[in-house]
Symmetry: C3
């Protein structure tokens, strides 16, 4: 059908892409496999194909199942607009709105779901292939996957604010190599991108927002990168999550609220979380859990403040202010040169009257925490003029009347042999100096 392996969903004779783009793409995939049957014809034979999705609204009622390597599916626009803001506009104002929905090359995920399905059945794109070699070089770029609506989660939240609908944008079930996700938009999906067993994956320059969870690298994986994305998950979910990954590079991302975490690593080793801008409404922004070790967390900007938007007042991730913005259960990690802004209401601190913790070493050994700068402000009593930093606090060595006293580094008894340098004053670092090395940040006249 296509002599040059280039397909356009609007030109394909089987199915109607506007009614069900899933049927169309599956038919194209069957065509590719029909035509590319020879595994080795003169050093080639299965080059794969590219499938183009022009700008338009495409319903997807049939899951796309991908089992060929060297496939690129691309569109001409990530098409993000905020559905969350729009759903919280009063209905009688809707007729005045310029547009109501995301756009671009937009796939509306309309897979019928009862709620009893396996998670993968709610995926618009499902990649599944076993055997050898691992499926390689599948690329998704420059289109929009829209879950359209969230549904009630049984709470008092408006159904469109729950981040729940059982839908996933792209779900990769098996070991894979050299995949790319770039320039995509994901919106209103419970899970945007779920990838098992990734090797040399690139998730680059995407717009992933208003999804329950954004990027989850599950199972295990190695040597991947998550770079230069704009990301923001729902209050229950992960913005960036990885488990048992080695050599993961998470850098240059701008992660906005309201994810339950900004970056959550579970049993991850020898990886980097560097140079990101991270913003959250809750504690628990970066979590190194389950013995995550030898990770470099450096030159990130952490901002934690409070939820400002009425529809989500009272919603959070359940963690209190002793949890830490950065929480480490693991060994031999490096935490260097990060900036932390903790901008909260002293009357809303939990537990009441507690001194909020910024970096907390919960378990492990041998972590190196060096040259981090903590700024803490009480939004209740401070204007910009009277705000002050924990660093200033360190300098003054007493808490300012209208400031916010914090513990910049807390080392629990289950964590030992750590080195804490220049990351808070004598009074701001809580650590047993008989089992940890500590050099407090100098204060005036030291």
């Amino acid at each position: 059908m296509s002599s040059n392996n280039h397909y356009d969903v609007t030109a394909w004779p089987v199915g109607n892409p506007f009614d069900d783009i899933g049927e169309v793409i599956n038919s194209i995939l069957a065509d590719i496999k029909d035509r590319q049957t020879v595994a080795d014809a003169n050093n080639g034979g299965k080059p794969g194909a590219v499938i183009y999705i022009p700008p338009g609204d495409y319903h997807l009622r049939t899951q796309v199942v991908i089992d060929v390597s060297f496939l690129r599916i691309h569109g001409s626009g990530h098409g993000f607009t905020s559905s969350s803001i729009r759903f919280n506009v009063p209905d009688d104002e809707w007729p005045d709105l310029h547009e109501l929905w995301p756009g671009g090359s937009r796939i509306l995920v309309d897979i019928p779901l009862t709620g009893d399905e396996e998670e993968s059945q709610g995926a618009a794109f499902y990649v599944e292939r076993t055997g050898s070699p691992r499926i390689s070089s599948v690329e998704f770029s420059d289109f929009c996957i829209d879950g359209v609506h969230f549904t009630s989660d049984g709470s008092e939240l408006h159904p469109e604010n729950t981040y729940v609908n059982g839908k996933t944008g792209i779900y990769v079930a098996n070991a894979n190599d050299s995949f790319r996700v770039a320039g995509m938009g994901f919106v209103y999906l419970e899970n945007a991108l779920t990838i098992y067993h990734a090797d040399a994956l690139s998730v680059h320059d995407n717009f992933i927002a208003e999804c329950g969870s954004c990027i989850e690298l599950r199972g295990w994986g190695q040597a991947s990168k998550i770079t230069d994305n704009l990301i923001g998950a729902g209050f229950k979910g992960h913005s960036i999550y990885a488990e048992n990954h080695g050599g993961l590079l998470i850098t240059a991302n701008n992660v906005f609220p309201r994810g339950a975490s900004s970056v959550h690593l579970d049993g991850v080793t020898r990886s980097s979380v560097t140079n990101n801008r991270l913003h959250s409404f809750y504690p628990g922004m970066v979590v190194l859990a389950a013995n995550s070790s030898e990770i470099l967390v450096a030159t990130n900007h952490f901002l934690r403040d409070h939820e400002p938007w009425t529809p989500f007042f009272g919603v959070d991730n359940g963690l209190d202010d002793l949890n830490g913005l950065l929480r480490i259960s693991g060994s031999n990690n490096s935490v260097v040169g990060n900036h932390f802004s903790q901008i909260i209401d002293s009357q809303r601190i939990r537990p009441q009257g507690a001194r909020p913790v910024v970096i907390r070493l919960v378990a492990g050994a041998g972590n190196f925490v060096s040259n981090n700068h903590v700024v803490a402000m009480d939004v209740r009593t401070t204007s910009n003029d009277s705000c002050y930093s924990a660093q200033v606090d360190a300098l003054l060595t007493t808490e300012a009347a209208d400031g916010l006293a914090v513990t910049t580094v807390m080392v629990d008894s289950e964590s030992a042999r750590n080195t804490i340098l220049d990351s808070g004053s004598e009074t701001q670092v809580v650590a047993d100096r008989t089992v940890n090395a500590l050099r407090p940040t100098p204060t005036i006249g030291f």
Copy 2:
């Protein structure tokens, strides 16, 4: 006209794109709006469109006015070549040149201007829409916007060296969301990219050079990123400028001369300037002005040397060597792990005989300046062999005969309660130790 929302400017029946691509694109935009009138047809209805500009020379005599979301305008080449070098080649050598102008998918901005216009009237692309929601997901990629000529500014400069012509590449007047500018080339425009009120903007992997100012984020904005660009403004202008932005991530850019500044932030808060390579011919490379606060300036490479090119000898940004390469009027910022190379002619220091300042804290409080390395050389007296670093200076504790003595950190009396760690020796840091905390970089045998 286009059933799949895909337009090619060379195939559109209205106008001639080579004579006036502005007329053609405006006609296409009218067609999009004519066809996409329904705000909500089965969860969709206004997907937007993509407009393609093949390689070619397209004059733009009519300003393009964009008021639809989900629009991508793209070409097939950023088309940069140096017009600045070419204009300074003697005319009689022109016939020997392979080519004379930028190329790729190139728009020549030929809007008739008298000089009395509002700045926005000189814009090739003008984005303007009020009402709700904010205009979203407009994307510009992979084409070239060329202002073609500069004009006399009344000075002795050759008219083509003034960086003045009243032309702007893209001007976004109203609040906007999730815009993208990627892979573009901008050349010989007084302003390349001027965006008001940006939210979640991405300016990524562009080539913006030989423009008066390159990237200006004006008004206010949040959660944007300026990443991985090659940038260099004119001597009067900004390479990267932002005002009243929160959560801005400026990273992985290679910023070359001759911008009056490399990065200038005005009233910006809680943002990052990390991991950039910055090169300038003047002081005032990174400016945190107007109470810019809680900004992380980390692991950047600063190089300041002298203008090497004859046509611009004697031109600079007017700042003297006490100004500082990094200048901060603001509070609670973090300056960590930067490298500074100050390579200048001791006989050209201004004021004469002054000791140049590298980091200057002008006003504010609570800044954290830690582990920065300053290298200073006098081009007049040093070869590569005899050059030495300020660090070495610190080690020797006396100035080498042929080296350049600098103040690595100067804290003015209007700035207090700062912490300065390991960023210069006792003699290199000028700060009142009764109101600032200071740990000088250790010297030999300390």
Copy 3:
């Protein structure tokens, strides 16, 4: 032939792209030059062109010679799959494999070579133009260049494991400006990308693996960037190499084994190696050689462990464990906030019984080494539980029985006036304190 400067290799009347895409592209280039002859027609005249390569297997028997600016050659897929793994699968399992070769828009380099050619003759794409101006804005994107096979190098290695075949992907011979290489795949080439005399080059978001050398910037150059790539060279070659470059930004790359080096800089100055994830099986990961100076090496993650794959057992780069993972022959460099994991077998240390060196300053002066964290483990005796870090070692001040004692920083006598801060304990840093400034990392109870 093409009124809009847009070419498709499968639609061009001259030649057969599947037999010899080189002949086809050269014919297209001739057409561009035939049509674009006027250097200045109304401020334009030579906009260049775009050449599209749809997914498919294209043999290249004739070298493509590029001498026009503003040319984009692009495909629809980088097409990487591991040929290395496949060639090491027993032949009788091949019929069970899903596919045998890389794919996407794939060029098979079939230039006939005898082995006596100049290196440039083995290049698939050869860019060569002298005169003025420099050739500008040539872009390669989103296709695959595959060398298909390696050949015997006379050693005992299987011929497909030698990384030798005399083939180069892209070779740029002359001074050039504003080139781009993005989204490409390179595989099984002796050299992927060799570029002389680059100015403002961007090598961004490529997949370059299983090549002898990946990126080499030769001769001299300035103001370029190598960002956000997945890269891994062969045991004889360079993953990233540059010589005599100024203002080079190497950031956000994930560099995997088995390159002889991860980043090798020769006479490079005023550049950045920041924020990369680097993994190697040998010492000599980052090399600043030949008086490379004023370079910032910051917030990188270094992991060195042992070759795990049977076909390459016994193969390495010939360097012993005293060489250093980071080795500096140069002055005034900054090494700040890096994490090093040295995970090796104590019984395989060379010279036997030596204490491995992590950072080694071989020659030069004025280097600033600050706040680096070294973790060292002996794979022979340690489980995850018993592993410990050099930092911990520093804390304990004695070597743990089952751990790996390392020298975190060694300063040779030819290097002097360096500053070493918080990068190892008293016993881990080997430096003459009469000519270097040293502050050891604090230990417990200091």
